[in-house]
């Protein structure tokens, strides 16, 4: 653990519950409490409480905020209604991904949640590129929790009545047992669930309240990673970086329809061309034969043994009880079922392209 690591508002809370703390994104964070597999399964079957206060919570306000943001990311914010979230990407002019994020229209401003490890760079980028007159506020005084799993809605609605009315990718302001909270129905596990922004000064009380519900246990970063991998959700700094484009990363859905036609977002030339003609390589799911996982950095080989791709995330799926991975592979061999050869530490592994998500999403969407 580096001396420079910051402490989360819930640091003492995690330690009191037996968390093993590790250094991540400049913070001391809980990697696990009782064990990654048990925590993973608990989240899939009941409800898990995650502390994600290391993530950056930003407010972007001002008359030109919508226009200014549209110049930096490929979402159609014009049609984003109040209280709606969009998954989007900060892009470089060459189409590389600076970060992935959630942006919400919240009345007169936009609320943005960015990755913890990249937030300082994101803020600098936004400050440099947003037009003057647009105000950026880094809400350092806010903590962020996620309550994920099939029983999350019941547990949360006991303390914040009305949250059960939210549908996937919508949010609103709620009274959470006397604490003002911004709650959205969203998350990073593939399960139904919520993300809850509360003042840091109140987060221990809120965490106590939620963890006190019989359905809820605190869950560490380890299970957060295995859950998101099963859900086929990319992790910035591993599956995405400035050398990958949205089309390569299978995130073409994040380029809104109007933006495809109009362009005007960074990297539009390259990304538009890849949308039309396809990318040369694609991020794909892999099933690996046997029980041994392949990890980030393992090499994808062609029939002659040449390196043609790389594993960017890999681990053991507690739900499927087999190793799974995400890897960049040549687009021509990225169809589900195609066989893949992987080399790791001199050992050859056989695998096959898998459709993602590996474990189906269970989002609660608006009924048609």
């Amino acid at each position: 653990m580096s001396d420079a690591d910051q402490k989360l508002p819930l640091d003492a809370w995690h330690r009191a519950r037996g968390a093993r703390m590790v250094s991540f994104a400049g913070y001391e964070m809980p990697i696990q409490y009782e064990g990654i597999i048990a925590e993973h399964r608990w989240t899939r079957e009941s409800a898990g409480l995650f502390d994600v206060s290391h993530m950056g919570q930003l407010i972007i306000a001002g008359r030109d905020a919508e226009k200014g943001l549209e110049a930096l990311l490929p979402a159609d914010l014009k049609i984003l209604r109040d209280g709606r979230l969009r998954y989007s990407l900060l892009l470089r002019d060459d189409g590389g991904i600076i970060d992935d994020l959630m942006v919400t229209r919240r009345g007169e401003h936009f609320y943005m949640v960015v990755n913890g490890a990249t937030k300082h760079g994101d803020i600098e980028h936004l400050r440099n590129r947003l037009p003057s007159g647009v105000i950026l506020d880094h809400m350092k005084e806010q903590a962020l929790l996620a309550l994920q799993g099939p029983k999350a809605v019941g547990a949360l609605a006991r303390h914040a009545p009305g949250v059960e009315q939210l549908t996937f990718m919508t949010g609103g302001a709620f009274d959470l047992a006397g604490t003002g909270a911004w709650i959205s129905r969203s998350g990073y596990t593939g399960e139904d669930g919520f993300e809850i922004s509360v003042p840091a000064a109140r987060v221990a009380a809120v965490a106590d309240l939620l963890a006190g519900e019989p359905e809820v246990k605190p869950i560490g970063l380890g299970a957060r990673d295995s859950l998101r991998l099963e859900a086929g959700l990319p992790l910035y700094g591993h599956d995405l970086d400035t050398g990958t484009t949205p089309v390569e990363a299978n995130l073409a859905f994040a380029i809104s329809k109007r933006r495809r036609h109009e362009g005007g977002y960074p990297g539009a030339d390259r990304i538009g061309r890849e949308l039309d003609q396809g990318a040369i390589r694609l991020l794909a799911g892999l099933f690996v034969e046997g029980r041994q996982p392949v990890r980030e950095g393992a090499r994808v080989l062609d029939d002659e043994g040449n390196e043609v791709g790389k594993v960017t995330s890999g681990g053991f799926s507690p739900t499927l009880e087999r190793p799974i991975a995400l890897a960049y592979v040549p687009a021509a061999s990225a169809a589900p079922g195609a066989t893949v050869t992987i080399e790791q530490r001199g050992k050859i592994f056989k695998g096959a392209i898998a459709a993602t998500p590996f474990v189906p999403h269970k989002y609660v969407r608006k009924s048609a």
């Binding site: 064990g35 990654i36 597999i37 048990a38 029980r291 996982p293 990890r295 053991f316 530490r345």
Partner: protein, 123 residues
């Protein structure tokens, strides 16, 4: 019968010239949920301090070194399908491999249970 411990968190149980090797309870606790173990096959020569086995947790892969030199007599076949034995019974059913000791003198360089406990407490 005596049990010895290495600074790499392996244990060695010695009966005659046969040594059974595994990882300690401390090691399995640090690794977390174990999902895969690769043990050496009978007949393989392993050297003290050299790679002997691989253990993978949900999060990461780790090498297991041979705490003593010798010829492997048997790898624990049960770990192929039930690697979680290393978590539930690390110093019993979760053993990794047995070998024929080439140099019993190497045992003198290992720790006994009390010294190993003090070593872990100092970490």
């Amino acid at each position: 019968m005596s049990v010895y411990y290495s600074k790499e968190h392996e244990w060695v149980r010695v009966e005659g010239d046969t040594a059974t090797v595994g990882i300690t309870d401390f090691a399995q606790g640090q690794l977390g949920d174990i999902v895969f173990v690769e043990v050496p096959e009978a007949g393989r020569q392993v050297a003290q301090g050299g790679d002997a086995a691989v253990v993978e947790s949900v999060k990461a892969a780790s090498d297991v070194y041979a705490p003593v030199t010798g010829e492997v007599i048997e790898g624990n076949a049960a770990l192929a399908d039930t690697p979680e034995l290393v978590n539930s019974d690390p110093e019993g059913e979760g053993w990794f491999f047995k070998l024929k000791l080439a140099d019993p003198g190497q045992l003198d360089g290992l720790m006994d249970a009390a010294a190993y406990k003090a070593f872990c407490d100092s970490l």
